[in-house]
């Protein structure tokens, strides 16, 4: 079975033959807390090719959000390197877009003004009219046509998350970082947003890293699923999906998908320390 989806291949081996847009090499990071030094990342490696979509899963508190902050340049590793587009990341950069579980829309702005917020920070060549045109295009892409002048408080949770996605993409970032973007939504709304995500991904040229707790979400959306070990985290397991890019929701209900979920489920249990790593999956 593993041969089917090339399970267990560490991406580090692949980087030589692929142009990696995001390259994380042997990153160590620890926090100073009241209870002393807390080691979060312990030699974490990850590499995402240009246009790729990687989902990162792992047990709670294993440092997944720390990872997004490292890629965004909001934090620096103690040792190791984070590379974006062939440049080492040492500070935030305008080529990154972020969206979180909390959509954090600004209540005092209309939806379209919320979406155009990054363009007030990032230098842009677009004229005011072109900016608005792009905002409207993104809104229509996520199915929020006609909501331009509404306030965030007038939108449902799923719609707010869609708007948040538009804001993360308005400045045409190279990298989209999603930190459990659909975690607070109900199951049906979440599946709707998965479809939207595929739609958006096929039209916009970004490379995506998504943190998630939902294994089904990870195998439905991503080209590759990275399992982080328990804290201090390193790369424990990498699953390459047999199908990449946009796919039908039916693929989630195949025996192959069930097998992949089982494997991931097992890896999470290993990461949680509930089962020994030696016992083979499947």
């Amino acid at each position: 079975m593993p041969a089917l989806f090339n399970a267990g291949t560490f991406i580090l081996q692949n980087t030589a033959c692929m142009q990696a847009l995001i390259d994380i090499k042997n990153v160590h990071l620890s926090y100073d807390t009241d209870d002393g030094n807390l080691k979060v990342l312990n030699g974490f490696d990850m590499s995402v090719p240009e246009g790729g979509f990687v989902a990162v899963v792992g047990p709670s508190g294993c440092g997944k959000s720390t990872l997004t902050r490292l890629i965004a340049g909001l934090m620096k590793p103690d040792s190791g390197e984070v590379w974006l587009h062939g440049e080492q990341v040492t500070s935030p950069r305008a080529t990154v877009g972020m969206a979180f579980q909390n959509p954090v829309l600004l209540e005092w702005r209309s939806i379209i003004k919320n979406i155009m917020l990054p363009l007030e920070i990032v230098p842009t060549k677009l004229t005011r009219a072109q900016q608005e045109e792009r905002a409207r295009y993104l809104l229509s892409l996520v199915g929020l046509e006609g909501f331009e002048d509404k306030r965030p408080s007038e939108l449902s949770g799923g719609m707010r998350q869609r708007a948040s996605l538009c804001r993360a993409l308005i400045h045409q970032p190279d990298v989209l970082i999603l930190d459990e973007p659909f975690g607070a939504l109900d199951a049906f709304t979440r599946e709707d947003l998965w479809q939207t995500m595929h739609e958006v991904k096929s039209r916009e040229p970004f490379t995506c890293v998504m943190i998630t707790h939902d294994l089904r979400e990870s195998i439905y959306l991503a080209d590759q699923v990275v399992v982080m070990s328990g804290r201090p985290a390193r790369t424990q397991y990498v699953l390459d999906m047999p199908v990449t890019g946009a796919r039908s929701i039916e693929t989630l209900y195949t025996p192959e998908a069930a097998e992949m979920l089982k494997t991931l489920r097992h890896e999470i249990e290993v990461a949680q320390g509930r089962v020994p790593a030696t016992s083979a999956a499947g």
Partner: protein, 253 residues
Amino acid sequence: MSLRKILIPTLAIVIFLVLWEALVWVNDWPNYKMASPSDLVPAFKQYWQLFLTMGWQTLWRTVVGLLIAIVVGTLLGMIMGFSKTMREALYPLLVGFNAIPKATVVPIVALMFVGAHDFNTILIAFMISFFPIAVSISIGLSTLEPEYRDILRALGASKATIFWKIALPKTLPEFFGALKVAVTLAFIGTNLMEIVSPHGRGLGALFDSGKTNSDYPLMFAVLIALAFLGIVLYYVVVVLERIFAGWAEREAT
């Protein structure tokens, strides 16, 4: 809708005045025990020029004191909101300062700056009213969810940009809530100075002269004038709130 908004409060005021009149009439109180609304009309008629000049003195000094309180309160709130160390350092000091009854500060200030009546009055109005503003701004800033900062910080925005675009507008509803409290406090401050250390200016001084001359209706008339000014200033704040933080208002359901 807007007619209703004016009619209901007006009606409430009229009912209040009628009840007040009835209370005095039923108990047959002389006006040195409690003046009735009908006693106030002659007092206002007789002294209307004094009410205008002194009311203006009270009003402008209150507003200036309040404006200084807004500036200083906002700055203090920003310092405490952004720095945990400063918050821990300043909070006990501020709470202690706020706990001192300002009536006891009035004679001290009056002695410190002898003769600087306007300055002293403004100072007391400021001292009594900056506290709620500082606290509300500091709480508003320190409870800002980190994601709000991160969406701009991830794009390389400066701290100042994040403050102007997100932190400041987001704290406006709390700020206006505090400002409504501060407005009435500032009036108390101005009048404390005018009454405790009278210098012939402001409605407080008019109140004091009513006391010296046993003109009880005049004293009550001053109270009503103060209440009127307080209501006016309060609604000025309400209008400003509508303009700048109207987004925080939810539609009534």
